[in-house]
Amino acid sequence: MGVTYKNLAVLLLSIVIAAFWIGNGQADGEVNFPMPRDKIYLEECGGCHTAYAPGLLPARSWRKMMNELEDHFGEDASLEEPQQLAVLRWLTDYAADASNATPLMRRIAASIPRDAAPQRITETALFKYMHDEVPAYIWKRAKIGSPANCGACHTRANEGRYAEREVRIPK
């Protein structure tokens, strides 16, 4: 079998497919969260802040939050009922304690006391542990401003991706 254009084309295609597969694959599975596949979530929640991965909090946290949207961290973020129900569904389906949770999500769920329904991701044990090396002055940089601004450093946070190699800390 000699080198033909066909062989070369097949080889090239295989390389491209493999590269694509590796690039998008579960190599960083531990730090990738399933995300709502619906623009409602990105538009309604991601309009004001990072579209946080539902897997960062347990379902009971999200239920409490979605019941108190008129006073959402001091702001009125209330939604129309159809949107409210759709968002709640995504949040509970992909919550840290959902049945299809990844190992990291299960770790998050296990670290939260059963009788607690934390509302701030930054108050959970895993968040604190993962960010303990970040000094206070970095959080205060103009382009970051607050630990709630995941997307400032986690460039693909809106896709549920928090891999360390995708972190770019703005100057």
């Binding site: 004001c48 802040h49 990072t50 961290f73 001091g74 702001e75 009125d76 973020a77 970051i144 401003g145 607050s146 709630a148 601004n149 997307g151 400032a152």
Partner: protein, 133 residues
């Protein structure tokens, strides 16, 4: 042929929901006239409103988050999330979806003024945004 028909019908489907910023402004002026007969929108009043310091809500003014230059990227006062430019000249998506315009007036008026905006306020504000070149 079928594909052409499909693409054409898709185009129409998209257009049915999208409006031009001028159409959105016209709609808001109509709404304002129901509250105030003979109302005409003023970009100058809109600009004053945009920059004015308010006391009713959490954010001091519209410019707190959208910055003094509505063509520039803004930043949410609490979450620090980047906000795309508000002026249509810098961001073609702005003022093209009536439902979105209503939603953000509702949320942001509450955040700045602590109340909903009046029809004339919304029309003036929009006139100012459209006047920015």
């Amino acid at each position: 042929m079928i594909r052409h028909a499909l693409i054409l019908s898709l185009l129409f489907a998209v257009q049915a929901h999208a409006e031009t910023p001028q159409q959105i402004l016209d709609g808001l002026v109509q709404e304002a006239r129901r509250a105030q007969q003979g109302f005409t929108a003023s970009a100058t009043r809109g600009e004053q409103f945009y920059r004015a310091r308010q006391t009713g809500g959490d954010a001091e003014s519209c410019a707190t988050c959208h910055t003094q230059d509505a063509k520039a990227h803004g930043r949410h006062n609490k979450t620090h999330k980047d906000i795309a430019p508000l002026a249509p000249v810098a961001n073609k998506e702005r003022f093209t979806d009536p439902a979105k315009v209503e939603k953000w007036f509702r949320r942001n008026c509450k955040e700045v003024l602590g109340r909903v905006c009046t029809g004339p306020e919304k029309a003036d504000f929009t006139a100012y945004m459209l006047s920015i070149k």
